[in-house]
């Protein structure tokens, strides 16, 4: 995932949303931005691998998601005694772009259990109703006020008609 510092307004909602605590904030700056790993997007664009992959002697591999998942499953199958029986990230938050294989149990290492549903789908359940609610509330209140004001309008018109009716014979009398 990449991050556009030009657009960021610094609201920190991404930090509320992220269950893994990945986005970090520049707390000591007057106009702080969010900072996070962008998977070395600038290097990828030039056909290079992320810097951590290049630097790491043994542990980090890089590739597209399906290939990495296959690789993780292969390692677990070949040396089952070496790995804890879970690929962290396969289903977490709807499936993440980084997988972790561990030897120790995940909770001992501080990996939190996380929902397997994609997080935006939780808020979208409410947000997709927004246009409908806006139109319903606006429409209902408009219709309601039209009716409640109608009585007054009718009364006023009747009064005016009565007045007119009263005035006309008077005018006739004068002539």
């Amino acid at each position: 995932m990449i991050y556009d510092a030009q657009r960021c307004i610094g609201c920190r909602f991404c930090m509320i949303a992220c269950p893994f605590g990945i986005p970090k904030y520049e707390w000591s700056k007057a106009f702080p931005l969010v900072r996070k790993c962008t998977g070395c997007y600038s290097r990828i664009k030039e056909g290079l691998e992320p810097a951590c992959v290049t630097a790491c002697p043994t542990a980090i591999s890089y590739g597209n998601r399906d290939a990495m998942l296959k690789e993780a499953e292969r390692r677990m199958k070949e040396k089952p005694e070496r790995y804890y029986k879970k690929i962290y990230g396969k289903e977490e938050a709807g499936g993440t772009c980084i997988f972790y294989l561990t030897h120790q149990p995940l909770d001992e290492l501080g990996f939190k259990p996380v929902t397997s549903r994609a997080l935006p789908s939780y808020t979208w359940d409410a947000l997709r109703l927004v246009p409908g609610i806006f139109l319903t509330v606006g429409g209902t209140l408009s219709a309601l006020s039209w009716f409640t004001h109608r009585k007054e309008r009718v009364r006023r018109e009747e009064e005016q008609q009565k007045q007119n009716a009263d005035q006309q014979p008077q005018e006739g009398d004068q002539q």
Binding site: G21, S28, A30, P32, Y122, T123, A126, L127, G138, L141
Partner: protein, 344 residues
């Protein structure tokens, strides 16, 4: 020098309460200066685990429902056409406008890049609750400003804008209710994304609906408190007969809220409800003192008509609301593993 002397003499004549307010504003100005020099970390004690603290909990999540009187009363008076409550509308709009100004000021201080706040107008992301909230804040502040202009134009006798505003009155009232409905509920939508962070006592898919309903009864209660206080301390006319109408509406909203809240908590929440005794206590206080007790109070006709009971019940509702918003945005978000909580 003479100008300064004039100001000092003027201030000396003020009431003690006003002087206290001036000191508060000065402190606030100083604090915001410090925020723009040394950053948010020093002034708010926030950190990467707790990125939202008091400014969001109070200035946004709590101040917005406290400003809900304007749209609630506007709809009651103009759409449901209960004309006799009209004298209460203008004070409600002033409170609403003040509340939203506070929200905007708070947000400008709390955003990391306040000068880019308008970006939400240009770079749309309809999948983000933050997009909805910021659109609603801007739209509704504008509506409140226009509604607030009427008395100002009357005071100075500007005829033409007044005629335009009169013509706009009904559309503005309806827009206010529609935008507020979205805005109040979207504050609840915020926390729908904190699936594994917010405790099950408050996390449920109906959170936006609950936020909207509680905003309505809070708006009504704020009007009761305000009208009573203004009568008591600023020698304005006694409105307790009109307030009685409001106390008749309150139990309906409180009762509906209680039903939805219990239904959502019992049937729609996931995860253990009773594992954190402190949170359970906060939940019970919030619901007992803020909803159940005022509901029972206002079911009784004698209480509804008694000035002192009106004030007491309304204050309890507002207390419950404030506690509820803090429970959702702060206490319920505390993670059991790390023991730190952010306080500015």
């Amino acid at each position: 020098m003479t100008a300064a002397r004039l100001i000092i003499d003027e201030v000396k004549g003020y009431h003690r309460f006003l002087k206290f307010m001036i000191v508060l504003v000065a402190l606030g100005a100083l604090a915001s200066l410090i925020r723009f020099v040394f950053g948010l970390g020093v002034t708010t004690n926030l950190n990467d685990t707790y990125p939202w603290g008091l400014w969001i909990s109070f200035d946004v999540v709590t101040a917005v429902p406290l400003a809900a009187g304007a749209f609630t009363l506007g709809a009651i008076v103009h759409c449901f056409h209960i004309k006799k409550l009209e004298p209460l509308v203008r004070p409600a709009i002033v409170t609403g406008f003040l509340g939203y100004s506070l929200v905007c000021m708070g947000l400008l201080l709390d955003l990391g890049q306040p000068h880019k706040g308008w970006h939400t107008l240009v770079y749309w992301n309809v999948h983000s609750p933050m997009f909805e909230v910021s659109m609603c804040v801007m739209a509704y502040t504008t509506v409140l400003f226009l509604e607030f202009l009427s008395p100002v134009c009357e005071k100075f006798g500007y005829r033409l804008p007044l005629r335009v505003l009169r013509w706009l009155e009904m559309p503005l009232v309806i827009a206010a209710a529609a935008i507020s409905t979205l805005h109040q509920s979207s504050l609840g939508t915020f926390f729908l994304i904190a699936v594994d962070k917010l405790h099950a006592l408050w996390y449920n898919p109906l959170l936006p609906l609950l936020f909207w309903m509680s905003a309505i009864f809070t708006g009504i209660s704020i009007i009761i408190i305000e009208a009573t206080m203004v009568h008591r301390y600023l020698s304005q006319p006694d409105e307790s007969e009109l307030l009685e109408v409001l106390t008749r509406i309150l139990p309906w909203v409180l009762g509906a809220y209680l039903l939805v809240k219990l239904y959502a908590t019992i049937f729609l929440s996931h995860g253990p409800l009773f594992n954190r005794p402190w949170l359970l206590l906060l939940f019970l206080v919030e619901l007992g003192a803020g909803v159940v007790m005022p509901l029972l109070m206002f079911l009784n006709k004698a209480n509804r008509e008694d000035k002192r009971m009106q004030l007491r019940g309304a204050t309890m509702v507002v207390f419950g609301l404030v506690l509820n918003r803090f429970n959702v945005s702060m206490f319920g978000m505390i993670q059991p593993i790390s023991r730190s909580i952010s306080l500015p």
